[in-house]
Amino acid sequence: MVCLAGPASAEVFVRWETRPVPPRDALDVAALVVPAADAGLAQDARAAGYRVFLEAAADALDAIPRGGDVAGVFVQGPVDAARLDALRTALGAGAVVRTLDERGKWPHIRTNWVTSRNGVLQVASRTAQPWIENNAALIRIAQREHPGVVPLLTYPWQPITPAVGGEEPAADDYLVAIAEAGSFGADLLLPLHPAFQRRLALGLPDARADWGRIREAMTFYASASPARYEPIAGIAVVTAEEPMRWFEAMNLLARHNLPFDLLTLDQVTANALAPFRLVVVLDPPAAPQAAALDAFARRGGTLVTAGLQGPFPWERGEPASRADDRVTYEVGSGRAVAFAQPVINPNDFALAVRQLLAPEQRDVEIWNGITVLAAPYKAPGGDAVLVTVLNYTHQPLPVQLRIPGRYVSVHYEVPGARPALLPFRQRGGFAEIVLDDLTIGGRLFMTVAPGAEPQGSNGK
């Protein structure tokens, strides 16, 4: 189990692109983000009472007006740090300059189906497990790429179905996007659909009602963000310099509620591996890293490799078992599991990793929640655990969770409702909790029993 350094804040910014701009009181937000290319819109937004952030492409930064009325700039596309620093200096004290992470997708649940290839609508199959398009893994990767920097995500809306009309996101779609960023520790530049912007500007009752829910979620996730906690992860994923090459493997670990931390090969040392229970190695290690990995297994850890060609130190002995897809070696008090192929089917791989962790080694267990992602965090003092839960379906769902550790109380809160003390059952080294109606997002605050081991530390 490892607790990563958490980000410092979590915030949702609203992108506005249409005229007229509603007065600040109508939206009840302090700031809007407008396209840098539309100076008139920025002026309108300021006149309506907002602090104005500009969104600009990296190659258009020179055109950003210098002066005191730009609250900040969000940069699209790759840009070097020196240019960002120069822009910060030019804009003056207090101005925010950040780069946008545009690699994500609007989070939603969908299924894989053929729309109209050769005029065919559907694929008959066994019951398809819903696919959760989510950004949990991306956020974790982005946090590791830039330690100490809160990722600022943005992504376009993509309609789920191809029917005529109905392409606009529903209020619940916005709520899931906000909840996801708030649950996994990212900031979000939220694009509002132009039709929704126009309805808001007109003050139409339905739009105002939807906006009220969105605003409520923004407040909820800003008030107690995971930013103040430390993510808990019992799995380390080791890759070479370019982790996105193995994105789908990590995406499916996240999808199956297997929280992970990310290490590059050059970060692999005995100390760096010590907090973990299971280490997945996806790129070949050099001799010093292989020795550290071997030592990790000897101390009782589970080492998993996929498609790596040895010889490696852990392969010295005879295999303890062989299966079609893997060879397992006993290594000291631990083991090494060598999958013959690289990660070709990330879903199967994630399920195999899950099975290699004994139930008591899992940081979170969810029953009846195939559409739910949870993320555990530890308070810096170790006296409390925060667990964020997010149901991507928009439908109320009874969900059962099992969280390792001993606790004296569990508080549960969701947007728009008062926090409630939740009954739970302490069974062995775990707390079992039932959420009767998880609709979109919620979070649990769990007070650790005095003298109890921190969550997850009973792993090996």
């Binding site: 065919v120 609508l121 066994r126 029917a163 379906t393 009874p398």
Partner: protein, 340 residues
């Protein structure tokens, strides 16, 4: 070639019963007037509707969706407040009054158990629990645990009292409708669409249960791609029919040999061995779904008598381990299309 038992092997070139308008070369499918995709019953459900009035189509789809969700709330064993969960909790203590749709589906399922010789049985719940726990633990269950669970399985342990009361005659009986509920629900949703004026509609629950009314404009049926081709054709044209697909793909235990898939044979108490799949097309979605399970335990050559008990309009396609069709039982609703 058609074997004596009426089962045709797909590798042999035989003309199919229904001739469909050529799919290939036909214009792109006209976008449906309304299409929603939402989550229910553990999967994503698509509702497609064509109608000259968008308002009519939207209203019908919303009502059909509401019926689907209502059935999920009634038939789910995962929802503690569902009628089924209540029946499972209280059924051994006496008759429980349940929603008419739950009564209807349990009554039908008892019939299906009889007609399939016990291959399909909704009282398989205790066995499922044993095998799920075994999978989570990484090794096969103890034989004693399986035998204990088997003693709780059998549709004869369920007693019905019309019009809507059910009880169990053993304390450990538990009904699980996951093997038939989606097939039932897609038909009911389609009924609602028809009742609200939509005659061209399709309801798809996760690809495994699909029900179709009418056909898209300019088409002879709703084109549904199969996992492989039959006589070079891999598209089924679904019209006024339901289809269901089940597959068994055993996954190995982490800590032991053998493996387990999600479909159990209630008679043996063990998972159906090997990898295979079955697609059934019928006029009734619940029949189609129940039969896919029963046929996974039945060699094509042995299936004819069982299928005959369900009437003349059932078609079945058996898929091999590679997902390609291996054998076909023709019925009047099996209309295939695609390049030959």
């Amino acid at each position: 070639m058609r074997s004596a038992d009426g089962v045709r092997h797909a590798s042999c070139a035989v003309l199919l019963l229904l001739a469909a308008a050529p799919l290939w070369g036909s214009p792109a499918l006209e976008p449906p007037t309304v299409h929603v995709q939402r989550y229910a019953m553990g999967t994503m459900v698509d509702l497609f509707a064509y109608h000259e009035s968008r308002e009519v189509a939207e209203a019908a789809v919303e009502r059909a969706w509401a019926e689907f969700v209502r059935l999920d709330d009634v038939l789910s064993s995962f929802k503690p407040a569902s009628d089924l969960s209540r029946l499972n909790r209280e059924g051994a203590s006496g008759f429980v009054t349940v929603d008419p749709s739950l009564y209807d589906l349990v009554a039908r399922s008892i019939d299906y158990a009889r007609l399939t010789g016990g291959r399909f049985d909704v009282t398989v719940g205790p066995l499922l629990r044993v095998w799920k726990a075994a999978w989570a633990a990484g090794h096969p269950p103890a034989a004693a645990d399986v035998e204990r669970a088997k003693a709780c399985v059998g549709s004869d342990l369920v007693e019905l009292q019309p019009p809507n009361r059910i009880r169990f005659t053993s304390p450990c009986v538990e009904i699980e409708l996951g093997g038939v509920g989606k097939g039932y629900a897609v038909d009911r949703a389609l009924d609602v669409l028809r009742a609200h004026g939509v005659e061209r509609a399709l309801v798809n629950a996760g690809g495994s249960s699909i029900a179709a009314a009418g056909a898209p404009p300019g088409r002879d049926g709703w084109p549904v791609r199969l996992g492989g081709s039959i006589d070079g054709r891999d598209v089924l044209l679904l019209r006024e029919a339901s289809m269901s697909t089940s597959e068994q793909r055993p996954r190995p235990f982490a800590a032991a040999g053998g493996g387990v898939g999600e479909i159990l044979d209630p008679r043996s108490g063990a998972p159906v061995p090997g990898a295979a799949g079955v697609t059934v097309v019928a006029s009734d979605g619940a029949v189609a779904e129940a039969l896919t399970k029963a046929l996974l335990m039945t060699a094509p050559a042995d299936a004819e008598r069982m299928l005959a008990r369900f009437g003349h309009d059932v078609s079945a396609i058996w898929m091999g381990p590679d997902g390609a069709p291996a054998a076909v039982h023709n019925g009047p609703r099996l209309a295939l299309a695609g390049p030959r």
